[in-house]
C-alpha cells in the first residue's frame, strides 16, 4: 500500500503514563488503509483506549510516531487533527455539555469558524444520519442512553473527519442500541470513511468489521481478517477474549458433518444447516457425500 493510501500509521509506539511510569503501550506498529473498518479488542487494561487517544492527539507518543492522514500528531495541533479524525468517547456523559441537541452538534463546526449556513447544513446532515430529528431541541443529558450516544456521534460527524474512532460505543447499550450505533458506523464505512471501533462485544466485531486488531498488555497480539482472528481461540484467551458463541459453535461441530468451520454470524451457520436439513429430510441420504469439500476447514 502506498503511504497516501494509509489513513493511520503507527510506528514503534510506546506510551508511558506519568507520574507512576505505567507503560500502557509497548511498541505497537499498525497501518490502517483508507476505507477500512477495523475492530480492536483485548482485555481490560490492554491499552485500547490509550491507543485511540494517541490516534487523535489527546496523548502524544512517549516514543515512536503516529501519522494520521499524513500528519505527525506531535507536529499537529489537536484542532487540526479534529478535522481529520473524529473521536467518540466511551462515556457520552463526559462529552455532552450544550443545552440542546442542535447546539451540541453545531459547537464543533462553529468553532472551526464556518459560515452559519454551512454550520446549519452540517447539523442537518448529522441529525439525519443519526436519526435524531425528533430530539433537536431536547436537553442532551435528559435523553435515553442510546440517544445520548447518538448525539455524541452526531457532534463528531459534523466535524466531517475522514477517520472515525469509536471507544466502546455500545457499552451499556441494549440490543437495539448496539445495532443502531454499529449501523451508523457501517454507513460511514460504506461512504468511504475509515472506521476503528474498540469494543468487548465480539459478536458485533464479527458481524460488522473486516479486520480485527487484538491487543494484549500494550502489544499487538493478532492483526488479521476478523475471520482469521476468531479462528484462534487459544491466542485470544491470552487477552481474555473469546470468539462469538456462534463462531465457537461452528468450531466445535464435528468436521464430518460438512458444515463450515468458520461462521461469524448466525446466518453464516444457519443457512448451511437449513440447506443440509432440507436435503436430508426427504431422502435420508448420506448428505455428507454431497457436501464434502464444500467448505474449507478453517476461516
Amino acid at each position: 500500500m502506498k503511504d497516501n493510501d494509509l489513513a493511520i500509521v503507527v510506528e514503534d509506539l510506546e506510551y508511558v503514563y506519568e507520574p507512576h511510569s505505567l507503560q500502557a503501550i509497548r511498541g505497537i506498529n499498525l497501518a490502517v488503509g483508507r476505507g477500512e473498518f477495523v475492530g480492536i479488542v483485548g482485555h481490560n487494561g490492554a491499552g485500547k483506549t490509550t491507543l485511540l487517544k494517541n490516534l487523535v492527539g489527546l496523548l502524544l507518543p512517549t516514543s515512536g510516531r503516529v501519522i494520521v492522514d499524513g500528519l505527525d500528531t506531535r507536529q499537529t495541533t489537536v484542532a487540526e487533527l479534529a478535522t481529520r479524525v473524529g473521536y467518540v468517547m466511551q462515556n457520552p456523559d463526559q462529552q455532552l455539555f450544550a443545552q440542546t441537541v442542535e447546539e451540541e452538534i453545531a459547537f464543533g463546526p462553529r468553532n472551526l469558524g464556518l459560515a452559519e449556513g454551512e454550520v446549519k447544513g452540517r447539523v442537518q446532515a448529522a441529525i439525519a444520519l443519526t436519526g435524531l430529528d425528533a430530539f433537536r431541541q431536547e436537553f442532551p443529558p435528559a435523553l435515553a442512553k442510546g440517544d445520548r450516544a447518538k448525539v455524541v456521534i452526531g457532534s463528531v460527524l459534523a466535524m466531517r473527519p475522514d477517520i472515525f474512532v469509536f471507544d466502546e460505543p455500545t457499552t451499556g447499550q441494549d440490543y437495539r442500541g448496539c445495532h443502531q450505533i454499529m449501523q451508523i458506523a457501517h454507513r460511514l464505512h460504506r461512504q468511504g470513511h475509515t472506521v476503528l471501533v474498540v469494543t468487548h462485544d465480539v459478536a458485533l466485531v464479527a458481524e460488522y468489521t473486516g479486520r480485527t486488531v487484538v491487543l494484549c498488555q500494550g502489544e499487538v497480539l493478532l492483526d488479521d481478517t476478523t475471520a482469521a482472528v476468531f479462528a484462534q481461540p487459544d491466542m485470544l484467551r491470552r487477552t481474555h477474549v473469546t470468539p462469538p458463541q456462534i463462531t465457537q459453535l461452528a468450531q466445535a461441530l464435528p468436521r464430518e458433518l460438512g458444515l463450515p468451520a468458520c461462521a461469524l454470524t448466525v446466518e453464516q451457520l444457519g443457512q448451511p444447516i437449513a440447506e443440509r436439513a432440507r436435503h436430508i429430510a426427504p431422502k435420508q441420504q448420506r448428505a455428507g457425500l454431497l457436501w464434502e469439500g464444500s467448505y474449507s476447514s478453517d476461516c
Binding site: 483485548g42 482485555h43 481490560n44 487494561g45 435515553a144 442512553k145 442510546g146 466502546e168 457499552t171 451499556g172 447499550q173 441494549d174 440490543y175 437495539r176 442500541g177 468487548h200 465480539v202 459478536a203 484467551r237 487477552t239 481474555h240 477474549v241 473469546t242 462469538p244 458463541q245 456462534i246 465457537q248 459453535l249 466445535a252 461441530l253 464435528p254 464430518e256 458433518l257 458444515l259 448466525v266 446466518e267 451457520l269 444457519g270 444447516i273 437449513a274 443440509r276 436439513a277 432440507r278 436430508i280 435420508q284 441420504q285 448420506r286 448428505a287 455428507g288
Partner: protein, 289 residues
Amino acid sequence: MTHPSEPTIIVDDVSYRYPRTKRYALRHLDLTIHRGEFVAVLGENGAGKSTFCQALNGVVPQSRGGRMRGRIVVGGLDTQQATVAELAQKVGIVLEDPETQLFTTSALSEVAFGPENLGVDPEEILRRARWALKAVGLAGYEDHAPTALSGGQKQRLAIAAALAMHPAVLVLDEATSQLDPMGTVEVFSVVRELNGQYGLTIVMATNKGEQVAQFCDRVLVLHDGELVAQGTPREIFADAELLGRVMIRAPQVSQLATYLEGRDTSLADFPITLDEARQGIVQLIGEAY
C-alpha cells in the same frame, strides 16, 4: 439453587414515578423471589431495570424521591419503612462502573469499610473482610490497590465489599457491561458460586443472554416498567413472539434455533447453551450417516 420455599423478596403491586415526571418507571409490578434463587432481569434501556434494582435496597424512593405505590418487602423489611442503613445489611448492590464504587487504597480496607460503619467488633471486621475476599477469589490481594486490579477483579472486589455486610440478597445492576468477555464470565461464575454455596439470593440486571442462559435460574423481562414475562432462560429465549416485541439479546445458539425454525428446520430440543446446540445439530444432520 437451594429449595425455593421462603420468599426473600415480595413485590406487591408496585408502581413508581421519579420526581417531576409523569411517566411511571415501574407499573404494577407483582412478583416474588425465593431464597437462593439466581434471577436475571432483562429488558431494553429505559425498561425500569435500574429503578427496580434500586427499589430493592430502598434507594428508590427513599433517596431518589418520587412516589411509590404498593409495597416491597426484602428479608422481612419494608423498603419504605426501614432505614437505608438497615436495608444495606439485607441487600448488597454492585453497580455498572466499579470505579464509582471503589475508593480506598487497599482491597482489605475497601471490604472492611461497610462493617466498620456498622460498628462491628474489629476482630469480626477483619474476619469478615478476609472471608469476603476469599469468597470472590481475591485471597492474597488484601494489600493491592483497587485501582491496580483488572476490570473483573474490581467488580469482584465490589461484590466482596457487599458480601462483608452479610446480606441476604445481592443485586447487580449491569455489573459486567464494561468487562472483557472473560471478566464477564468471571463475575457470573463467582456470583453463581456464592449463590450455590451460601444460598445467597441474586438479582442481576444484564444484557448478556449467553451468561444468563448458562448461570441463571429464572428470568424477569421488564418492558416500559411492566413485568411482561417471566420464566426459565429456556422458556424466555425460545419465545419468538416475546423476543419480537422486546429487544433482548438471546444467546446466539438460541438465535440460530429460531432462525432454523423460520426455515422449517427444528432442533429436537431448543438450545440455550453451546453444548446443547452442538448436540442438536449433530442429531439433526448426523442422523443421515
